[in-house]
């Protein structure tokens, strides 16, 4: 009798292990989660707590660029200047990378604006907008007679990467 219970327990453990392995490679919908309300079958996510979307643009690199123009002047504004771009990480960054969090915060704001609905106007007094605008003014430092505009741009991949303009701001003075 004991052997029978031991065999059943062993089978249950093996089944749970097998289900856990399978679970790591599939996406569980809300219905699937209902079936496993006690989360007996784990889905390990480690560093990525939220599931990445399946669309290709979820892996885009985000850039923040700005340009300036003389207030009231006719003609073309100045060239686009990078304010924030995806950093090339070196081994040293593992030990010393003090701007990591501020950069991540700015990139999160850029992504928020970049993924906003184009049909819905963005509030310039919103936190993300103001954060980016302030970073641009600090990064570019235009004179008092100049206005500034920023753009959120996404690129995909490394070689011959496509460029997508995701958001273009209004013109601003300090």
């Amino acid at each position: 009798m004991i052997e029978l219970f031991a065999s059943i327990a062993l089978a249950a453990v093996v089944l749970l292990l097998a289900a856990s392995l399978v679970q790591q490679f599939r996406t569980v919908g809300s219905r699937g989660r209902l079936l496993d309300a006690l989360a007996l079958v784990p889905q390990w996510k480690f560093f990525a707590q939220n599931e990445l979307g399946r669309e290709p643009d979820w892996l885009d690199d985000w850039h923040l660029l700005a340009r300036v123009a003389v207030i009231g002047a006719e003609g073309q504004p100045g060239p686009w200047q990078p304010v924030l771009a995806p950093a090339v990480r070196t081994g040293w960054h593992f030990i010393w990378n003090p701007h990591r969090r501020s950069r991540a915060q700015l990139l999160a704001c850029a992504e928020l604006l970049g993924r906003s609905d184009p049909a819905e106007p963005v509030n310039p007094a919103g936190i993300a907008y103001l954060t980016l605008l302030r970073a641009c003014f600090e990064g570019i430092s235009p004179g008092s007679d100049k206005s500034l505009q920023f753009a959120v741009v996404a690129t995909r991949g490394r070689d011959q990467r496509p460029v997508f303009l995701r958001y273009l701001s209004l013109w601003h003075v300090r």
Partner: protein, 53 residues
Amino acid sequence: MKLDALELQKLEQQVLAWEQQKDCQDTAGSRAGPLSLTGLLDQRRRALEPRVD
């Protein structure tokens, strides 16, 4: 990795298309009266202040 010259050129084209499509504030005329960062920050600050009736 920053955008190179060719990518910046592509960006310029998209900016022009964006401005034409939105028909918005991004023309030279509108730069005469741009929104100020200080004004926006004040607006934000006022929105966060508690209302006293």
